[in-house]
């Protein structure tokens, strides 16, 4: 099944970047798997330059995305699939938050890099923040997009799991059709197995976040001494606006905040160009 997913994803990438020569592009997207808890997890890599590891949000990475494509123009982008997300056949024995963090860390180290810039979206950002807090030497600069991990009883984040299936895309994206396209059936994939795969991706997110998405990150933000870019979509329907200041004030390192217009929670799908541009500007800026 892993082979099938990679093939499908490559097909999706070709469609998404029609200007490029398809054969050259397919060759440039490198895929390999690493074992996490004895389960294969796919890693995609593209581009040259300083390494940037990307941890995806809801739905995982069923296909290479436009945002990653643009980032790979100036960076070596490394996009591992966390256990249970497309590109990995099972969630495996992840029960505690420490299990998840070790899996994320193992995936980063598997790319054989000493140190990287680390970017995450949604719960991928919650994990990225914790990786930076726990293993500070592994991370150079940190990019947190629509970060989860906090919960305020008086201003609760939305429940991404208690949703009618047809309502979920509009909850996650300002442009719901982009979420639908991102998670849709890849060319050549089996529809029944694809349903199983996407359901498992939702389950993996639930395994990590249930019931309210508080990963205890609030108590560890002060350990993040890294230069950090905090990106929020102007129309995020999952994370309340009040959480932005909590992150900005909680992180010990210098925090730069960017608000992207006309984007919901999944900024990488809603505004891939703008996001890639802001991230590249932040990462390419010389350290102060």
């Amino acid at each position: 099944m892993a082979r099938q997913l990679v093939a499908g994803a490559s097909a999706g990438a070709r469609r998404g970047t029609g200007r490029m020569n398809a054969a050259a592009e397919a060759a440039a997207l490198r895929a390999y798997t690493v074992a996490i808890n004895r389960q294969p997890c796919r890693v995609w890599e593209k581009g040259e330059g300083a390494p940037l590891v990307f941890l995806a949000g809801f739905g995982g990475l069923p296909r290479w995305s436009e945002c990653l494509e643009q980032l790979s123009a100036s960076r070596r982008v490394i996009a591992p699939s966390l256990p249970g997300f497309p590109g990995s056949p099972a969630i495996g024995p992840l029960y505690t938050h420490l299990d998840w963090l070790l899996a994320a860390q193992d995936l980063i180290r598997a790319a054989r890099i000493e140190r990287c810039d680390l970017m995450g979206v949604s719960f991928g950002a919650a994990l990225a923040a914790d990786v930076a807090a726990l293993w500070p030497d592994l991370v150079d600069r940190l990019v947190l997009v629509s970060a989860l991990g906090l919960f305020d009883e008086n201003d609760p984040s939305a429940d991404p799991f208690a949703q009618r299936p047809e309502e979920l895309p509009a909850l996650l994206c300002k442009h719901p059709e982009r979420y639908v396209a991102h998670t849709g059936l890849p060319e050549g994939a089996d529809p029944i197995e694809w349903t199983v795969t996407t359901t498992r991706a939702r389950e993996a997110a639930a395994r990590l976040l249930w019931p309210i998405g508080d990963t205890g990150l609030a108590g560890r933000l002060h350990r993040i001494g890294h230069s950090t870019l905090l990106v929020w979509g102007s129309d995020d329907r999952i994370v309340p606006a009040s959480y932005r200041a909590r992150f900005a004030q909680g992180i010990a390192g210098s925090a730069q905040v960017e608000l992207i217009d006309s984007a919901g929670h999944m900024v990488d799908l809603d505004a891939p160009g703008k996001l890639a541009q802001r991230v590249a500007a932040f990462l390419n800026r010389p350290p102060s």
């Binding site: 969630i91 029960y95 799991f161 208690a162 949703q163 009618r164 309502e167 529809p191 029944i192 197995e193 349903t195 199983v196 359901t199 498992r200 939702r202 389950e203 993996a204 997110a205 639930a206 395994r207 249930w210 019931p211």
Partner: protein, 408 residues
């Protein structure tokens, strides 16, 4: 065949426009619809009804567990069962829930069920449901992705707590205990019979077949919907090299009996419409949390083109005509009800028939009428089924209602 009188204990006063004005009877139902003084009357009526059924010779009475809803008012079925343990003498007490994964530590279930078994003199049937997604994952916040594993661990702990004579240590993933040594212990040895209510999860069928539990198909969508479920279960029984003993299977059926068919239609229409229209008004947001359904069931559902069960009535309630035609409700005069139930039990091969003779907003008088007619004129026509051919190994030996039932 054993006939069990099952009470869901619905809140009977949901407004007529409930379906239009409210999205869900479960999880986020408006608490302002609940009148505690009305519940005072309802609980007492409901317990009276269960006691009445026991008096009339039903083999068992059933209670179950639900949370944060207007569909069934028993967050703790053990409270009702303990009252019944005192007020009944011979009927089996079928506690068709505790949802094992909800209790921390799950020893609470072992203890309370042991108490009920002791108080009742060994008449407990221990129901081990997984629990609905609404109850377990939303109302009680359990992680749907690990719920089954937690349930399975709790099941093993409870069985050991009931059966191991010496204190022991338990090192589970979800529960760790240095000292397990419950008092009281159940009267029934090695432990009370275990029944597992469920639907279409093959994992549940396999557990029942492997461990020797009763699998009870609890669906509100009638005989046809349960036929596939039970046939899957019986195939699992075959695979485990067991006999297709009908007493190892249960089935739930709504029934309305009256002197004539016309009277039955007139009497039971409103309660049936109330149940399907209001009690089953569950927002789909709460029915399928990711991970609750096993991957094999997801695969099976994805390969079926026709929506099953409740999903076909996501956006509207079934009409009374549909409720009857599809067999959700078996209603009529006693002889036709008896013939129909005999046919269903024979076709499905179920020896534990659970009957909902109170449903929806049915009041106490109508419930008693339905119960009495059933006991007097239906029960004698069907109670003998399977009795001579099969031995019931899943019934509390001390619960013998029939031997002492009044002659009718």
């Amino acid at each position: 065949m054993n006939l069990l009188w099952f009470h869901l204990m619905p809140y009977t006063d949901l407004p007529e426009d409930f379906r239009d004005k409210h999205r869900s009877v479960w999880v986020d139902i408006d608490s302002r619809l609940f009148d505690p003084m009305r519940a005072h009357a309802l609980y007492n009526d409901f317990i009276d009804e269960l006691e009445y059924a026991a008096e009339l010779g039903f083999d068992g009475v059933c209670v179950n567990e639900h949370h944060a809803n207007g569909y069934g008012l028993m967050p703790s079925p053990n409270l009702i069962a303990s009252a019944l343990a005192r007020s009944t003498r011979r009927a089996a007490l079928c506690v068709m829930g505790n949802s094992l994964a909800l209790y921390n530590p799950p020893l609470r279930v072992a203890e309370e069920m042991a108490m009920i078994d002791c108080i009742s003199g060994g008449r407990l049937i221990a129901g081990f449901p997984l629990g609905t997604p609404m109850d377990t994952t939303f109302a009680y916040g359990q992680n749907p992705s690990t719920l089954r594993e937690k349930y399975e661990e709790a099941r093993r702990l409870i069985l050991r707590a009931w059966t191991e004579p010496d204190p022991f240590a338990f090192n589970g993933r979800f529960t760790q205990l240095r000292y397990v040594n419950i008092w009281p212990r159940p009267i029934q040895r090695p432990h009370p019979p275990i029944w597992v209510p469920g639907g279409g999860a093959r994992e549940t069928w396999a557990m029942c077949a492997r461990e020797g539990y009763v699998f009870a198909a609890l669906s509100y969508f009638g005989f046809e919907a349960s036929r596939n479920v039970l046939s899957g279960y019986w195939q699992e029984i075959d695979r485990h090299g067991r006999q297709r003993n009908p007493f190892q299977a249960g089935y739930l059926q709504f029934v309305g009996v009256a002197d004539t068919r016309a009277e039955a239609m007139a009497l039971y229409r409103e309660p049936a419409e109330y149940f399907y229209g209001r009690c089953l008004r569950v927002d789909p947001r709460y029915t399928s949390p990711p991970g609750y359904t096993t991957e094999s069931s997801v695969r099976l559902a994805a390969s079926q083109t026709k929506p099953q069960g409740v999903s076909q009535f996501k956006d509207r309630a079934p009409s009374f005509q549909e409720i009857l035609e599809r067999g959700y409700l078996v209603a009529g005069e006693p002889d036709e009800v008896a013939a129909r139930l005999r046919q269903i039990a024979t076709d499905l091969n179920v020896g534990q028939l659970m009957l909902l003779l109170q449903f929806g907003n049915m009041d106490k008088a109508l419930t008693r009428y339905n119960t009495r007619l059933f006991a007097e004129r239906v029960m004698p026509q069907i109670a003998d089924l399977f009795q001579d051919q099969w031995q019931d190994n899943w019934w509390p030996a001390r619960a013998q209602a029939r031997a002492a039932a009044p002659a009718v």
